[in-house]
Every structure is written in structure tokens, then in C-alpha cells.
Point group: C2
Chain length 339, copies 2
């Protein structure tokens, strides 16, 4: 069933069918309704490749989801929910979604860009990928609109979407302060990563605002993985004036902190309160359940899509402002004295 058959059956030309189906103003209401009814009766579905060919646009967005082959390094703890959110936001905006890959470990040079050209993709959303790969750099440097969630893409038509890391960290500190804590330490992520740096900045600002002293030994650098959190808290507990609360800039590190506290015979939150960041699945599974700064995956996904659409309409000359998405503090047992 193609448009010609449908035209024959409706007794009009293919041009009229096309106009009816695409809701063009020129077609009379009666004809339009008749054709549409017939189309859905016959189960007619327009051939998208043909439409793309002639319209020179595909209504399709590409998705870069990780660095291809075997990079385990830094992975978003919640890529899954993020992907759903992006998918939903995109389909609400009537876009299709194509998953992009670099074909293999080696030749990953302009593969993303090639895919974009080949399929007439209108833009790309980049999720939780280390930005240091050639294919991605080439893509960002091109004129293809790219929206990166927690990825700082550098290029003429790129935009970054991120949680409000600073405000989230500050909320964690304020919460601990409200519980009576005055000696609050932090375990950071690798500071060359923007989210890690921003969370630390938010931590410092909040402490300053509240008049809390942050001795240098209260800031320990981790790597977002469990062991680094455990080591960091071990170190913190060995200081002369150990903290009574720790803000870990990622949930895995916070869980490591939980383990270190247990190893030291400390009760959480009684002897040491702990707050994480992200709200990964494990945060609500461990014991005590982890208080954490939750990222709003759905909002991130829809912001990424909105940001991308902004890019599509915008003047390419003007750099796009980053989109900052609010976080939400989820208080659980690891910081709640009453628990």
C-alpha cells in the first residue's frame, strides 16, 4: 500500500493525498477527512525514507550513548532512566531516535558525523560519554546541533545540559547543618570533570554561607567509585578533628563511606552522617538507606531535547546557554537521626 494506491482508491491525485495527510491548509476539509479515514482503514503508512529524501529532513535525532567498545571508565550511574526520558521527550516532539555507534575501537574517526550525514539526522543528544574521543570531537566541531547531558562538548552548535550540581551540593550541606552538624567533610569526584568541580564549589559556598570552617583535610578527592569513598572516610576518621558528617559527591563513594564507618565501628547516622549524590538504585537498597541528592532524569531528558530544539532554531553565531536542571534532596536513614 503506497500513496499511489491510496490516491486511486480515493479518486484524487497523489498530491492531494499527500496534502491531506500532511495537514496542509489548501486541502478542503471534506476531502481531507475522507482521505484520512481511508488511509487508516487501509493501514496506510507513509514511507519515511521517501519523505526524507524529498523533504531533506528526517525528523530523526541521533543518540550517542557511550564511547563504543570497551570504555568502562566514567559511566553515568543512571543512563537507563536518562535514555527513557530522552526517548519520551523526543517522541513527544515527534522525532525519531537513532542510536549511533563508533564501528569499532580503532577507526572511530568521523563515524558519528558520517552517520549524521548519511541519515540526514537533524541533531544529536550525547549521554554520559567521556568527551575525549575523536569521533565525538569531530561531531561537536561540525555544524551539527549537539546537546550533551553532563558532557561539555566544544563546538559552534553545542549546548550542555546538567543538573544544578552546586545547588544540590549546597542542599546537602544545609540539610546536614540543620541536623546540627558543624564539622562537615566532602569526598569529591575527579576535579577535571565539571560535575565534580561544581559539586565541590557548591559545598564550599554553602559552608561559607553558614560560617562553617572547611580545613583542607576535609576535602578529599575520590574517583566516583566505591573504594575511593571508603578510603577517603578512613582518612577523614584519622584526622585530629574527624568530621561528624560527610558529603560524598557520588552515591558509590557514599556507599564506600558507609562501609568505612562500619569498619571503624561507627554507627550511621549517629556517629557519622552521610549524604551522597545521584540516587542510583543501590542508594535505597543499602543499609542504612542513603540520603542523597537525586538528579531528575526526566527533567534532564526533556531539557536535552528542548535545548537541542533551541539550537535548531537559533542563530548559529550565538553560543547557547547551558540548561541547568534542579535536583532534589532525598532524605533517608543515613542522615536522619530519628531513623
Amino acid at each position: 500500500m503506497n500513496i499511489r494506491e491510496l490516491a486511486l482508491r480515493s479518486g484524487v491525485s497523489t498530491a492531494t493525498v499527500s496534502r491531506a495527510l500532511n495537514d496542509r491548509a489548501e486541502v478542503s476539509e471534506a476531502t481531507r477527512d475522507r482521505i484520512r479515514r481511508l488511509a487508516s482503514e487501509l493501514g496506510y503508512a507513509p514511507n519515511e525514507p521517501a519523505r526524507t529524501l524529498v523533504r531533506r529532513r528526517s525528523d530523526t535525532i541521533g543518540l550517542v550513548w557511550d564511547t563504543g567498545y570497551e570504555t568502562l571508565g566514567f559511566q553515568h550511574p543512571f543512563l537507563q532512566g536518562l535514555l527513557s526520558a530522552v526517548r519520551n521527550a523526543l517522541s513527544e516532539a515527534d522525532y525519531h531516535l537513532m542510536l549511533l555507534t563508533t564501528s569499532g575501537p580503532g577507526d572511530a574517526d568521523t563515524t558519528y558525523l558520517q552517520a549524521v550525514r548519511r541519515h540526514n539526522l537533524e541533531g544529536v543528544v550525547v549521554l554520559g560519554t567521556p568527551a575525549d574521543n575523536r569521533a565525538l570531537r569531530a561531531l561537536a566541531a561540525s555544524d551539527v546541533p549537539c546537546s550533551g547531558i553532563d558532557v561539555a562538548l566544544s563546538g559552534p552548535r553545542t549546548v550542555r545540559v546538567t543538573s544544578d550540581n552546586a545547588a544540590g551540593a549546597a542542599a546537602a550541606v544545609e540539610h546536614l547543618y540543620a541536623q546540627g552538624h558543624r564539622r562537615i567533610a566532602t569526598v569529591t569526584g575527579p576535579l577535571y570533570l565539571p560535575p565534580a568541580a561544581e559539586r565541590l564549589a557548591g559545598f564550599r559556598q554553602a559552608c561559607a554561607r553558614l560560617g562553617l570552617d572547611v580545613p583542607p583535610e576535609y576535602v578529599v578527592t575520590g574517583d566516583f567509585f566505591l573504594n575511593s569513598g571508603q578510603d577517603a572516610v578512613r582518612t577523614l576518621l584519622a584526622t585530629e578533628q574527624p568530621p561528624t558528617a560527610v558529603f560524598a559527591a557520588g552515591d558509590q563513594m557514599a556507599i564506600g563511606a558507609l562501609h568505612a564507618a562500619a569498619d571503624a565501628g561507627l554507627s550511621v547516622p549517629g556517629d557519622l552522617a552521610i549524604v551522597g549524590f545521584d540516587d542510583i538504585d543501590a542508594a535505597s537498597l543499602v543499609r542504612p538507606a542513603l540520603t542523597t541528592v537525586a538528579q531528575d532524569q526526566r527533567a534532564l531528558g526533556s531539557a536535552a531535547v528542548k535545548a537541542l530544539r533551541g539550537l535548531l532554531d537559533a542563530d548559529p553565531a550565538e553560543p547557547a546557554e547551558p540548561w541547568i536542571v534542579p535536583t532534589r534532596l532525598v532524605v533517608r536513614a543515613s542522615s536522619r537521626p530519628g531513623a
Copy 2:
């Protein structure tokens, strides 16, 4: 840059360019090499929609990833890794991947099927979706080849890919037996789900083989979520002859079991050994770290792709055999006495 320009620059016809780029036998080696070199110099990328239009095939596979809008119910604990695996396997086989959605909560009738027709998709991989939705049923019932990972699709050209649940459960029992346990209980998933039923069957078979008695109260039905595991173990510990080991058919339930043991003042694995299934992230984050039957996500992904390709070539009349992927027991502290 399109094929006409490239043809002009190479001094041959578009037909010859097409043949060279598609590696047809009729073209002379010299011409082919010259054209290919020029193409990559000029950064020529063929227009896929145009190719799809004329070839009537898109080299693209669709992916159904969940039931669209807001179904939280049963979610694969590791959809993320699975998706990467499918993506990699597909791109190795030179297929592109399109993410499919039902447009919204209501009108999800033939949306998947429509998308397949519109985009000329050659098949669909279905991941961790409750199969009880109309769009998916319509898709499975059609002549579109569908490969479901842990989803039993019913239709003429469908195939199921799944972990070897029975063998995995049996391996868990054998491991516990080898540690000296003779009173082993299980917490199952909802038994209308094939994986849950198969894990229980494997558990029973292994017990029978080893001559272990399984009193009825040693089989408790859960729902794959944490609380049900916790409740189940509470119940088990209240029996006259409490088990010394528990096999939980999912990691979340196993973590719940850990909590129940802790609540009862029991040490794990000393007083109660616990083994889970899946190897979700949290399994290695909790304490004691969880012994579990790991599903091989990469193998599942590539099996899904192979199964789908098998379907593409196969005689539609013959029902496809399910693909069964081996699991791997990951021994951690929750069952290792020495730990």
C-alpha cells in the same frame, strides 16, 4: 556532495560509482580503488534514505525497550548493559538501530508495527518489556521478525532469548551444597514470569539430584523487589527448621534477605548464606557483597541479534528454537565462609 558530483569528479557514471562503493564484482579493481579513494577524500557519504528507497531495505533494526509511558512494574535490572550489548552486536553486523516508542499512554495500538512499516525496519529486538501491551502483541502477531530477550512473544516469526535460568539456579544450589549446606530454601519471583518459573524448576531439580529435601515452607514466592525478599526470609527464619542457606531468584530480593538476616542478628554467611540472581550493580556494593548468578549481558545481546538474523533467513513456517545463554556464578562474601 552526492553521487552525481562524485561521478563527475571521477569521470565515470553514477552507476559505476555506485558499483564501486557497493563492492560489486563487475567493476574493475583500478576504477574501484580510485573512486573509493576520492570518495573518502571528499568525505562523501551515501544518502541512506535514498538507498533504502530503491533497495527496499534499510539495514535497520528497531528496538522496543519498554512499554512506553509509565510502566514501572517489572524492569530488567540491567537493561543498560543489555542495550549496549545489542547495539554493539548490531553494529558489528552492519545494522543501524532505531528506538521505537508508543506515542503515548492511550493510542498505543499498532504503533510499533506502523513504525516498522514506515521505516522499512527489517526486524525488532524487544528488551525487558511486559509483553502484555497491545502494540507489542500486534507487532509479534505480524510477519515482522522479532527477537525478545526474556520476553515471550507469540507470533509466527518470533524467537525468545534467555539466560539459562534453570542451570543458573542449579549452580547456586550446588555451590551452597559444596559449602556444606543441606537445608536450602528459595525465594522465587512471580511464577507466571518464565524466568521465575525456570529458576524455581532448576532449584528443585538440583535439590533432587543432590538428595536434598525441599519442604513446602522452603519455597516462598516473592515479587523480585527488596521487601519481598526481606519478608520471605523473616518467614523462613520462623519455621521449625530454618534453612542455613537461601537462594533468592533476584538480587533485590537477595539484598532484602541480607537485611532480614541482619535484623535477626544472624551473620552472613556464618549463620545464613545467601545467593542472588542477575548481578545488578548493587550486588557488589552491599555488605557482605552478594554471591549471585550473573547473566551474561553481552552474550544475551549478541544472541538476540543472531536469533533475529536467523529469523530473517529462516523458513517462516518453522517455529524458531529459543536461544539459551549460559550464566556464571560469581562467588562473593555472602556465601563464602572464609570471607
